[in-house]
């Protein structure tokens, strides 16, 4: 290992950990000791990542309060160093960490809310596709559904939760002044995170519509998906739900299979 490699390895270890091994590489200052100088970098690197998590999970931070959130985020940062030059990739496993974080045991809805926030972040930065135009839609040979694949617009992310995530998010962000408390016992629902132009949005949808969206994420023919959905929802009208997908601009295209 070169001298440079050794120095960087020791420095990185010291920045993420609490070790003072790197101090021997550092010239003690007149005012600040080597450890204190190193501490400035420890503070800025960890502080930067804690700040990034707060920006990525604003509703979670709002609900938990800055002090609790930052303490939890610091624990996460200590065991999950950044692995990318871009902070946009940092925090993917934060919801999972929250699920296992003992002090959050009394707040079981928090990991679900954090997952929703992560997909909001992904959707915000994703390339987007347009919904199918009415003209193109009219020409789709729906009588040959077995030969067609229905493509959803991008980005579109699905969440099912036992908790009222939209209300929790609104409370965390305090964007809707009428939301001043959330009844966790009111139950959860099915949620969709998507983009309308540049605007990232979240909607709650009915369970049958959600089931259809889940099926449409699979690489199966539209005919197969319809048949499977109908077998699970024999009392419902499929047309009503496909019409809703079109109305919500969530279908991008129908493509011939094997083309």
């Amino acid at each position: 290992m070169s001298e440079l490699s050794k120095l960087y390895a020791t420095m990185m270890e010291a920045i993420y950990g609490e070790t003072s091994l790197a101090a021997s590489y550092i010239v003690p200052g007149k005012v600040l000791s080597a450890a204190a100088q190193l501490g400035i970098y420890q503070g800025s690197v960890k502080g930067g990542l804690v700040q990034a998590l707060g920006d990525l999970f604003p509703a979670s931070k709002g609900l938990l309060g800055e002090q609790f959130f930052d303490a939890m985020a610091s624990r996460y940062v200590a065991i999950n160093p950044s692995q990318s030059a871009s902070l946009d990739h940092y925090g993917e496993t934060f919801p999972l960490f929250m699920q296992r974080f003992e002090p959050l045991a009394e707040l079981p809805y928090m990991p679900d809310l954090a997952s929703l926030e992560w997909t909001w972040h992904l959707a915000f930065h994703a390339a987007s596709t347009n919904a199918i135009s009415p003209d193109v839609l009219t020409g789709v040979p729906l009588d040959q559904a077995d030969q067609l694949q229905c493509i959803l617009v991008e980005p579109i992310y699905l969440h099912r939760s036992d908790y009222p995530l939209l209300e929790l998010r609104a409370l965390g962000l305090m964007t809707e002044s009428e939301v001043d408390a959330v009844d966790i016992a009111s139950g959860g629902g099915c949620y969709v995170v998507f983009r309308d132009g540049l605007n990232t949005q979240m909607s709650q949808v009915s369970p049958p519509l959600y089931a259809l969206l889940e099926e449409l994420k699979k690489p199966l023919s539209f005919g197969t998906i319809c048949a499977q959905w109908l077998s699970k929802h024999p009392d419902l009208e499929l047309n009503v739900y496909t019409a809703e997908l079109i109305k919500r601009s969530w279908i991008a295209d129908f493509r011939a299979i094997n083309n």
Partner: protein, 281 residues
């Protein structure tokens, strides 16, 4: 390595660092700013709001690209995916030039997302010069390399930062982005003379200056880019213009971002130093 082609009309005076908080104001008011500096790391995603607004702003203003992610001084291989994305962005937005820092930011797959200082040794000169050369060859043009603020120095360093910088610029045949605030911050933190630093830099390679605000922590100065430019930094800027000539200057503000009008006031103060200088000539 050929120098990038700059239309002097597009690149003069005092530009401003582009921040998302100001997208709407810039598009609505079209302020008199010669160019904006876009932080490339904010536009590395596939789509969405930031890229959309960068496109709109680019339609009205020249831009420069400024990055923090190449880890030029690091020993992990240069991230080719990052470089590829940078090239794609460059062909889409046609920036005047690209710059990054004389520092390291990652090691063995771990990233600091912070600009960490290098040791100033002969080995390090050779090492970082080769990597800058690799990037320049890949991009097909010279890049600008910027001095960082630092809070520590290494026992293994056997030359000053300015000497190190000059050697690197010479060996890599790169250009320099000289951050006046960073010089001042490091000078105070390490107890060297900022003017000596200014004079030791190879002025023929300096293509741009940066101005920003620091935060006084009592025991040291912290480079936060979260305040107005401080008086001693303005003083040093004036000396830099005397030393280097009228070098395009960029005003950075990254935290506690104020209303755009505050940046315009700072820009106008920076331009006054140009006028003052012209009046003396």
């Amino acid at each position: 390595m050929s120098a990038f082609k700059i239309n002097p009309k597009d690149y003069h005076g005092v530009g401003i660092g582009l921040r998302s908080a100001h997208y709407q104001t810039i598009l609505a008011d079209r302020p008199d700013v010669p160019w904006f500096e876009a932080l490339t790391d904010n536009y590395m995603n596939d789509g969405g709001y930031p890229l959309h607004y960068l496109e709109k702003i680019r339609a009205h203003y020249p831009i420069t690209f400024h990055g923090v992610g190449l880890s030029l001084g690091g020993v992990d291989p240069i991230d080719l995916t990052y470089l590829k994305r940078l090239k794609a962005l460059r062909s889409q937005f046609q920036p005047i030039h690209f710059s990054d820092h004389l520092c390291w930011t990652s090691h063995d797959g771990r990233h600091s997302n912070d600009l960490l200082p290098m040791p100033y040794t002969q080995d390090a000169v050779r090492h970082v010069s080769e990597r800058i050369d690799q990037v320049q060859n890949s991009l097909g043009e010279q890049i600008l390399v910027e001095n960082v603020s630092s809070y520590l120095s290494y026992t293994m360093s056997d030359r000053t930062e300015a000497e190190f910088f000059a050697e690197v610029a010479q060996q890599a045949d790169c250009l320099i982005l000289c951050d006046i605030n960073n010089i001042y911050v490091s000078a105070k933190n390490h107890g060297f003379d900022a003017l000596d630093y200014l004079k030791a830099m190879p002025k023929a390679r300096i293509r741009e200056l940066h101005l920003a605000g620091y935060e006084d922590q009592g025991d040291y100065l912290l480079d936060t880019h979260g305040e107005a430019v401080h008086e001693p930094v303005w003083g040093l800027y004036e000396r830099a213009l005397e030393e280097y000539g009228e070098i395009p200057t960029l005003l950075e503000w990254d935290t506690n971002i104020p209303d755009f009008s505050v940046l315009m006031q700072e820009q106008s103060r920076a331009l006054n130093y140009w006028t003052k200088k012209q009046a003396r000539v």
